[in-house]
């Protein structure tokens, strides 16, 4: 450096061309990041606009009169809520214990090597398309499973749909719960062993309580996913409208929020754009959006709690 002019700040700043390029890329990436916000806004705007026009068009009483017959102008929400509730209930009865058990096994019992082989297989289960599960429900679950052990099972029924949805949510619940359990510090387990606990006691009395908020989050995400699942229900539950407010008969056909939307969507060609039946699609979509958003926000709270603690 002897004999040359000393470096100035300008020399270290790089050429104008490089700086300009950096600025351009920053704007480009910023623009792509704004797309997700635009998508959210568009969802909210399109849902609320059509849903609002639906609400002003129909008599509010028709939302409570018995029967979901959108083409005849009766929109009983309770019919749909009953179906969604039953399907989600059955799904959680299947997915919650199995998912939790699988999470315990993967996190506490499996050797790291076994875990590395088992996890991808569970991920494969998570990747099975819902139409395939729906077809599995009517080609296997109903005829070969339910009808074999029970009488009076309709070909299309809510239980088969619920089991199918449960299969779909199982991997999700397993992986979120497993993450929560693995976040529990090893020192807690070691302390329990040091006091003479068995493995099972450590799992149930130490790991489970420490991970409980994450596990609750997993169940809530599972419920949210189950409520939003469409194709399994559309194929396996019958997807007929109907006048039954079916809160108990899980082996009968039924209609859920999402399957009603699928039924409307599949036939939209016959319905005009400003028709109330067509707009009820958006109204149901808005309800579904609201419910799942609420559940997801609650579950995110629970996840954050476990992250803060450890």
């Amino acid at each position: 450096m002897v004999g040359t002019t000393p470096l100035t700040v300008a020399d270290l700043q790089g050429t104008a061309r490089r700086m300009r390029r950096d600025k351009t890329m920053r704007v480009v990436f910023g623009a792509t990041a704004s797309v997700s916000i635009i998508v959210s806004l568009l969802i909210i705007v399109s849902l609320t606009r059509e849903a609002a026009s639906f609400i002003t068009k129909v008599e509010l009483g028709s939302l409570w009169d018995i029967g979901w017959f959108p083409r005849r102008g009766s929109f009983d929400l309770l019919t749909l809520f009953a179906g969604s509730l039953l399907v989600t209930g059955v799904a959680m009865v299947v997915a919650a214990p199995l998912g939790l058990g699988a999470a315990f096994y993967l996190s506490e019992y499996a050797s790291p090597r076994l875990r590395r082989t088992l996890k991808p297989i569970i991920e494969v289960l998570a990747g099975i398309p819902s139409v395939v599960i729906g077809f599995f429900a009517i080609s296997f679950i109903t005829p070969d499973l339910l009808s074999r052990f029970l009488d009076d099972v309709s070909f299309f029924n809510l239980a088969a749909a619920g089991i199918g949805v449960g299969i779909l949510t199982l991997p999700l619940i397993a992986s979120v719960s497993e993450d929560a359990m693995r976040a529990v510090p090893a020192s807690l387990r070691e302390a329990a062993y040091g006091l003479g606990s068995r493995k099972a006691t450590t799992c149930v009395r130490v790991v489970f309580p420490a991970a409980v908020s994450g596990i609750v989050a997993a169940f809530i995400i599972g419920i949210s996913r189950a409520i939003g699942e469409t194709m399994v229900v559309a194929i396996a539950a019958g997807a007929t409208g109907g006048s039954l407010r079916n809160f108990t008969q899980i082996f009968d056909p039924g209609q859920t929020l999402t399957a009603a939307m699928a039924a409307l969507g599949a036939g939209t060609d016959q319905v005009k754009g400003d028709d109330a039946a067509f707009q009820s699609l958006y109204f149901l979509g808005l309800l579904l959006f609201g419910v799942t958003l609420l559940l997801n926000v609650i579950s995110a709270r629970f996840v954050r709690r476990i992250r803060e603690r450890y």
Binding site: S36, P129, V131, V132, R198, G228, A262
Partner: protein, 308 residues
Amino acid sequence: MAVTTVAGVGDVSLARRGHDVKGRLFHLLVVLSVVLAFVILAALVWDMIAGGESVLTERLWSFLTSGLNSDPELAGVWQGVKGTLQLSIIVVAVAFPLGIGSAIYIEEYASDSRLTRFISVNIRNLAGVPSIVFGLLGLAIFVQALGGVTGGRTVIAGGLTLSALVLPIVIITSQEALRAVPSGIRVGALALGATRWETTRHHVLPAALPGILTGNVLALARAAGEAAPLLLVGAVSGVFFVGAQGTLEQILHGRFTAMPMVIFSWARLPAGQGWNVLAAAASLVLLVLIFVMNGFAIWLRNRYEQRW
């Protein structure tokens, strides 16, 4: 076993007496839940193989290359396969660059401001929105509002809808891949005078690329299996005949279908006429397609995963 003398207590055995029945039972239960998950997977694959066997053994080639047909003896999945490929190309072209760009912005450029946090929370919530709601978005925006550009119920509208659906997944997985790159690499490049973009382009992205690709392929597999949004944006569920589909214009603005839609329409037809056999065989085709994608992603991850 260990007999220890504790002062004041006398001889205390630390060894557990008898069999640990409850512990064994718990172990059995958790093993059973994993086993059951695999049994379900096996039963599903077996059910599709057994159900679709006659089609797969007797006329596999014609099944893969024929179009939809009202005669179950002649119908095939070719239009579905083609539609799914076209949709996938649109997703790769739209969702991948937007998603990776967003992830780069959030991880590399944005400061920890309120706006950044809002974007992140928004993405996470968007990832939890049910797929059928994205179908409504597609119907209202891509089919109706932008109908002049997309041509209505076309493969473009379907592809854009699926892109919106997987965008949050692409962003989240790409973010994770970027976050796995140690900050020492960034700091090192910046200290040598590289700009933010040069650091990202030459150091962070190459290191994060395998992870990004893995996540994106998984997202693509998810898009390939979706039917609900396509149902609303008007993928054809039933028999349809297309005329000459030679030019790009005809493909982009023609009616379309996709593998999951084909399965859906066949699964809904009354059993006993051979449609259920076709649905099973088509499910198997879709499963193979998706398993290959997932397998490729997992292979990518295992092959190129870097431990820092």
